[in-house]
Amino acid sequence: MELDNIEKLLEKYFEAETTEAEEQILRDYFTGDSVAEHLKEYSTMFSYFSHAKEERFTKQVPLKPRVNYYKWISVAAVAVMVFGIYFGKSYQEQREAEYAYLQTRKALGLLASNLDRGTKKVAYLNEFQETKEKIYKNN
């Protein structure tokens, strides 16, 4: 009677038509001790299934993402680079300006000294003018 029922359920089981409750009946029967001789090989299957269910995940559940670490390092590197370029550039500009200032001063100094020399020469012309006027007056 009961065996008949089990055989019917098995047939349904292999057609994937059994309900969860029916599969529970099969599981209970085949993991029990009173399995009929000609159905013995099925008990291997069902005892494997219940055995496989025992396996556990023993590793820790990770909550600290490792990937983000690298992400933040790259963000920091980019920030350092941007600051470096920004300040490096303004420093460079300052030095360039100083250099230009010095060059201009030098050029202006040269100009001034040359102008000075020029006016000295022009002083002689003045002498000539004065003498000329003296001559005109005397006439």
Binding site: F14, E20, Y42, S47, Y48, E55, K59, V61, P62
Partner: protein, 179 residues
Amino acid sequence: MVNTTIDQPIMTQSEFLNVVMPFKDKLYRMAKRLLVSSEEAEDATQEVLLKLWTKKKMMSEYRNVEAFAMTMTKNFCLDRLKSKQSGTLKLVHSNYADESVALQKQLEVNDSVSWVEKIMQELPEQQKMVLQLRDIEDYNYDEIAELLEMQPTAVRVALSRARKTVRKKLIEKHSYGIG
């Protein structure tokens, strides 16, 4: 304008663990069914849990976190297998050899039980997953269809084929007495 949506409080670590604990073993067993090696299955499970943790803000939107996590595990492992195939890496099989030795020791008394594991390894991926979810994890057909992104009828067909293949190979081994 009045904001009617209630702000979801951000999930704490312990709350997250409470959600994840009941099904983390199932994820691991699924990953191991597909990847075979315990280490790879552990890595995969950690990877999936980590992804889930980084998405914790969205977790309240999922109807079923467990099903979602299981689908993630499935996709992750199938991707792994695919990239392994294209990279012609045979890690699965070399790891399997070591692992089966340990398993045989563990199952000395009834080592015919480990046949079933070997038989399951030879099944196509989809049948493996369906059999795993139904006969080991006790999911119902609708849940399996949802988390494997399959039609319910296709689930039954795959399940029936998987069970019949296991039966056939088991009977073959019994009659030839190959251990």
